[in-house]
Amino acid sequence: MTRPSPPDPSVDLTKNGLAVTVRNLSRRFGEFVAVDDISFDVKKGEIFGFLGANGAGKTTTIRMLTGLLEPSSGEGQVGGFDIHKDYEKIKTRIGYMSQKFSLYDDLKVVENLYFFGGIYGLSREHIRMRVAELDQSLNLLAVADRKTMSLPLGFKQRLALACAILHKPPILFLDEPTGGVDPIARRYFWDLISTLAGDGTTVFVTTHYMDEAEYCHRLSIMYKGKIIEMDSPSAIKKKYNSVSIEDIFIKLVDR
């Protein structure tokens, strides 16, 4: 498995070079603490992975950072903007792909693309050019006139990704982007993500597939709302003297 090289620090480092900063962020639903006082930074151009079992608080964290959910407490910045005050500005700078590949099943592939490009204020001409550009890696134009519901899951996944990056967001949030997709499509998808990151896009990705953790530059392991480990995959492996992230994860969660 080839791992992409870490981001070149000379690329596009405005301000402090951080795409996302989070300090003491928490979210409670009644008595239940979904996210418990987490803090971390994501550098620009980094693939930052959130690893954890279902219910560990990964999705809740993403929803807070994308402005879908108000944090109970704590601070955070996305693209240099405050998540409490400037969420409208944040929205123009992020792309988001939810774990359900939220697309309109009764719309054709192109219609989905025009719709999602349209709500970001892109002109139809602009979208057409952008789709042609993305098609080199995403291969969607071949099925442009098919209804989305008739597509295999791997195509839907790529279409959802295309919809999320039409407006060229500097920061991309992916919530379990490979759920249910076959291994080949998953591999292909991660190659796309690595290319995007290589071009300077910051990628914030959650997953519960342990093998996918290897694609990330840096990894944070979440358990019951807390971050219990955070470092590069190789450093984590060295620390726990193990070759498999999966073993380490089970060891961490079991203790």
Binding site: T66, G67, L68, E70, E88, K91, T92, I94, Y96, S98, K100, S102, L103, Y104, D105, D106, L107, E111, Y114, F115, F116, G117, G118, I119, Y120, G121, S123, C163
Partner: protein, 369 residues
């Protein structure tokens, strides 16, 4: 107001509508079916009521009376009998809905005092019809006494009533505008709440909400297509009621349609409001039907007059948009009223409509953040 971000929303919504012809057919058929059911079934005029006659008098006077009843289009005499004890059997065997018993001294007292009693017994299991039968018979005998007054010294005062604006008491003239009011609020609320619930279910709403689109743009992007659709249905029902049920249109189409637009907008606001509290399409559908249909049928004055409701229900009826819209649509269609005569209802409906619209937009916004 319409900017480049709303257009894709509107376009997408029309694609949904076009791609789902089954729902479209249901949307057009439902009003038709309802109109036929209500238009014909809620028929307040009874005809050919089956009655039995027990003539214990057998004089020319009683025969004259029976002849009067026989000539009336409202009654059909199915049996003559002589033993009053058989009366109950006629009812239990469901042969008649009313019986008229002419007492043995009818002829005598009629000749003597011009006042004579006859017995009318109706089947109270269907209270509405029973009342109607009694009213018809009263009317019939009033005519009878008038006719006998001409060849004698009868009552000096006789009541001649005339029904204005619906002289034939045709139920459909009264019912069809009511159906328009109920269907529009129901369809409007249903469409909006279900389409938003669907986006919540599939997660596409979330996808829209992470984009820079503003809440009001989402609302308008949803409202405009369904406003167009609901309004088309409104015109369809109105024209159908006008042509098929011959509901007169004495007022101005323009004024009525303008208010239809506003009324439909109110319906969409209610749908939007419902969508903020539900998570699935099923619940959205049930809630929309219950919230719009029940009050609009029971409390708006569609069937039961508001004036005869208990005080608290009268207050409730004032916040039901259909109450005010009913006054407007009946006024315009049957009486030829315009804004000049209808302004209290117009003002009340505008207030109720604005209340729902503002509440919906506010709640929707809150929900997003």
């Amino acid at each position: 107001m319409i900017n480049t971000r709303i257009l894709p929303l509107i376009r997408k919504e029309f694609i949904h509508i076009r791609r789902d012809p089954r729902s479209l057919v249901i949307l057009l058929l439902m009003p038709l079916i309802m109109m036929f059911i209500f238009g014909y079934a809620i028929n307040m005029d009874l005809k050919h009521i089956r009655i039995g006659i027990c003539d214990l008098n057998r004089t020319p006077s009683s025969r004259e009376l029976i002849e009067t009843i026989r000539m009336s289009p409202y009654f059909e005499i199915v049996t003559y009998y002589n033993n009053p004890n058989r009366t109950e059997a006629l009812f239990t065997k469901r042969l008649v809905r009313a019986v008229i018993i002419i007492p043995a001294d009818f002829g005598k007292s009629h000749a003597r005092s011009r006042f004579a009693n006859i017995g009318v017994i109706t089947d109270g299991t269907d209270a509405n019809s029973a009342t109607l039968v009694q009213n018809y018979l009263d009317g019939l005998f009033m005519g009878k006494s008038i006719s006998s007054a001409t060849n004698g010294s009868g009552p000096l005062v006789s009541v001649k009533s005339r029904m204005l604006y619906n002289p034939d008491m045709t139920s459909s003239h009264f019912v069809v505008p009511g159906i328009v009011a109920i269907l529009l609020i129901m369809i409007g609320a249903l469409l909006t709440s279900v389409t938003i619930a669907r986006e919540k279910e599939t997660g596409t709403m979330e996808q829209i909400l992470v984009s820079p689109i503003r809440p009001y743009e989402v609302v308008l992007g949803k409202a405009i297509p369904y406003l167009v659709l609901s309004f088309t249905i409104a015109v369809f029902i109105l024209v159908f009621g006008h042509l098929w049920f011959k509901v007169p249109m004495l007022g101005k189409w323009g004024f009525l349609l303008l208010f239809c637009v506003f009324y439909v907008f109110t319906a969409l606001a209610i749908g939007l409001l419902i969508s903020t509290v539900v998570a699935t399409q099923q619940v959205a559908m049930m809630l929309s039907l219950v919230i719009t249909m029940l009050p609009s049928v029971m409390l708006s004055g569609f069937v039961f007059p508001v004036a005869s409701m208990p005080r608290p229900l009268q207050v409730v009826s004032q916040i039901i948009p259909a109450t005010h819209f009913l006054k407007i649509i009946r006024g315009v269609m049957l009486k030829g009223n315009g804004p000049l005569e209808l302004w209290p209802s117009v003002a009340a409906m505008s207030a109720v409509g604005l209340f729902f619209i503002l509440l919906a937009v506010r709640r929707f916004k809150l929900k997003l953040k």
